[in-house]
Symmetry: C2
Amino acid sequence: MSRYAGKVPDVPAFKRLPRAVREQQMLDAAVRTFSRRGFHAASMDEIADSAGISKPMVYAYLGTKEELFVACLHREATRMLEAIAGAAAPDLPADLRLWRGLRAFFGFVGAHRDGWAVLYRQARGSQPFAGELATIRARMVEVVAGMLHHAQSEREPEPAREREPEPALEREPIREPAPIREREPEAVREVGGTDLEVVAYALVGASESLADWLADHPDADPAATATRMMNVAWLGAARLLTGTTWTPPEE
Amino acid sequence: MSRYAGKVPDVPAFKRLPRAVREQQMLDAAVRTFSRRGFHAASMDEIADSAGISKPMVYAYLGTKEELFVACLHREATRMLEAIAGAAAPDLPADLRLWRGLRAFFGFVGAHRDGWAVLYRQARGSQPFAGELATIRARMVEVVAGMLHHAQSEREPEPAREREPEPALEREPIREPAPIREREPEAVREVGGTDLEVVAYALVGASESLADWLADHPDADPAATATRMMNVAWLGAARLLTGTTWTPPEE
DNA sequence: GACGCAGGTTACTCAAGCGTAACCTTACGT
DNA sequence: ACGTAAGGTTACGCTTGAGTAACCTGCGTC
């Protein structure tokens, strides 16, 4: 309609903002929109609108739609992992540590019901995001596997295996070519025939599912969910670690 | 190029086939394509090509893209649930039953690495499929929860609660408006403060994740994966059912 | 005080791909 | 023998939405 600026020229209206700020606003908007609509149904126009900015700015700062999504995923994942790491102090006894970690995890999911869980769910099964996803999941598995090893060496103090530094939470360069973790042969640490990493994987998976469930049930209590998870995970894991294992019957 | 039929008129070439056959071919092609490309990246043209038929036929028989996907999901889910139900005879002791069920499940996933698991993964977090997905998951949870209840009443024969008929596997009318399972108030059966259905949900989730893992690791052994799952699930669940529960520490 | 760059905009281009209109052709029932 | 419905086709319409070209503007600075 009017010449160009759309506003009467002297009204400051919405100010120019520094890049860092706008980027966060855009990410916020993107997370909201991706969560509500799903990756494909979300349009860049809507995201831009929702961020109160125009589309080319989004492209200028955060790149293509896929890159934007990965950026969202990355930010939320980092926040979540930080929340967990902050809660599960490495010097606590294993069960307490696991409990704290779980509580933090479900607390986080509960508090951001349209953030992490939904994005994460989107990312599964969309090849373009397999890389980022694998990285994130690997980090989670690493944390859990770490706890399990810790618990194990608590019980049988044995050769006192060298602990790896601790899961490495520093912000990595956002990409890396997604190392798919072909299991390193030296790292096949087993307990009674059961590879701890796979157990960790199962536990992470169970947590993911309960996180989904939590995200879908707005009035469910995160702490109670954590307790349930703990019941399954710990009671099972604890027994495993004492050497009790289940073996398939001869048939 | 040539007039119409593309083939010299007297060559039978590819015959006309009855609808039922073509539908299965189309579903096969669709499952393949959706699995490889993902729902959105798969094009109807490609699916039609891959089925050796032209696009309008697909629309004529199976409807829109979404309907087609749901049909795939439904067919694969039914096959999988049948495989499980066939393996886990209801009169076996609980652990054996769970074991058989898990073995069948992972066997199925392993045998159809580009079928069930991948489709299922696609469906998560895409609103249009939330309904069908919820139904499927509910059926799986029902099966597992059924086993847990069974196991529980084995242990403490108590008031001998009325067992529901058995998970109901008959082919339902493909739709139903997705009943999202708001928990029926009478059905809050708990063990030591832990709702069995949520435990079942966690176990199903863990299985789903290991199924993902299996689908991603072509040379992994399904039976071994089932054993691992059994170790976590049964050792944990068994203890839960004896009344051992973990409770959060006072802090 | 002019000039450049960071912050911002409007208004396209262009491809992908779902869904359909309009049209063939042969098997089969009567 | 012949009509009709079931099986099949080509070729197109039309929307949606990613990504971009081309253009404003005012603050900080030399």
